[in-house]
């Protein structure tokens, strides 16, 4: 059980956990955290699978850097919309609210 296998396993479990959390929670902020957790799991897989014997490979690491910034941009956009939606409808999920 090499360290990389352990982190790949962690990545797989985080993906499953994030996926379940994303679908089960209705609160927008929790859904966003579940998305970030699933994203971290995917990044762990992206780097872990490319480094079976843990010799660093710069290409997937650069991809993960790009992925983290893209995930941050998406999270920030979701937060902006979510706050505005909360202010207008007083709701933190997408069920009811005006204009249904």
């Amino acid at each position: 059980m090499t360290p990389v296998q352990l982190y790949v396993l962690a990545g797989v479990l985080l993906c499953g956990l994030g996926f379940a959390g994303f679908l089960l929670t209705s609160h927008l902020l929790r859904k966003l955290m579940a998305f970030n957790i699933m994203g971290s799991g995917t990044f762990l897989l992206l780097v872990g699978l490319a480094q079976p014997n843990n010799t660093p490979d710069p290409v997937p690491q650069a991809l993960v850097l790009t992925g983290i910034v893209v995930a941050l941009a998406a999270t920030a956009l979701a937060l902006v919309l979510m706050r505005r939606w909360y202010h207008l409808s007083g709701r933190t999920d997408l069920q009811g609210g005006p204009g249904d």
Partner: protein, 485 residues
Amino acid sequence: MLALLIPGLLFTPLALAVLCLLVNFRIGRLFSWVGIIVQVLVALGLWATVADQGGLYYDLGGWAAPLGIELRVDGLAVTFVLLTAVVASAAALHAGAYLDPRKGYQSYFWPLLWFLWAGLNGVWLAGDLFNLYVGLELISLAAVGLVALGGEAPALRAALRYLYAALLGSLGYLLAVALVYGSYGTLSLSGIAELAADHPPAPLILVLAALGLALKTALFPLHFWLPAAHGIAKSPVSALLSALVVKASFYIMARLWLEMGEQAGSIWLAQGLGALGAAGVVVGSWQAFRQSRLKMVVAYSSVAQIGYLFLLFPLSWGVATTTAELAQQGITLHLISHALAKAAMFLAAGNLILAVGNPQVSALAGVSRFLPFSLFSFGLAAVSLMGLPPSGGFVAKWLLLQASLAAGQWWWIGVLLLGSLLSALYVFRIFRASFLETGSDDPFYHPPRSLEVIPMALAVMAIGLGFVANLPLTVMALPVGGGVP
């Protein structure tokens, strides 16, 4: 000459996004008119160049494929770049006159539009898996920004539901990219195509990519986010979303299927996607028939037409290559004719709602008498949507019919016919409403002529596509014929 066309194509939309962000709506409109002319010319130039010289690989930054990012400029990509140039410029010109410049937030329309256009061009041309992911994210975030522009509650809810669905879809695709890089060590699509023969990819790769991209393409039953997003957004934005943005993720899935489908795909995945597509056609059309708001009818019709696209997978897996080519041609032509027709329909619907002042279908009474031009463009677009001869939609369905017969999968023929019938159902319902007579005076506001000409031009193109169908089909089939520096 070519060395300037591709940079021109990639540079112009991004430069204009930067310029338009620094100025207000009116000046941004001026910049955008210049940008539209440049983009259309460059797209035409690129299309002509590929038409006579064949496709090529373009190494960005000067670095060759597995290390650097290469652009695959083949017939299919260039045809879609030209399609994007036509539809996006029509939507932009319509938006210039349709949107109200006085509102502050409208100045962000142009930058978001140009980023969306840059992302679309990036996806059509990309030959690298991770580059497709970043392009897809740029498209999704710009599209969500466009839907939420203005900040009203219904638009926000639609934008949030769209954003969360798009993010989950992108993660599914990114997971597939991680598995591909883990098993091949390279991200370039052409490299993977060569290696896929003796290193069969894990089937999960294609399943994950299919699920993620199907969610972003709003395939039934993952279409829940589309009607609200496309129905509530302003009509130029809905035209862009329904005609182009939804097709980008399908295009990626089609590319992956053509590269790795033989080894990684299975009869279950192919027929399953086809069945979901067929169900989407039926359910989408039925829902469209029952909608009370005009733009929601058109939005659900998008869900139905997207269902047709997924007939590509069953008709191109495990069948003779000639049948597969027939199916690819049919699907590409359907994609092009639907893009033109749906953009025309949404723009025409926008004009009708502007004139009537009420989004309900029932409020269209008397429109046929006082607003014949707008209604006629809506009707022309509907002809292509229903697939009646001589429109492009008909030729596409005819090719799909032949492909299904040649593949021996006759059940898709039933779907094609039923789909056309159902689409006729919801289109004629709109016309019935508009033919009802009201009083003799004219209660409607007449939108400026420039607003009404654009959807008519698009609708005529959708019909005209049927006559010149073999031109795009021959160019589309051009593979990459050696690298032309």
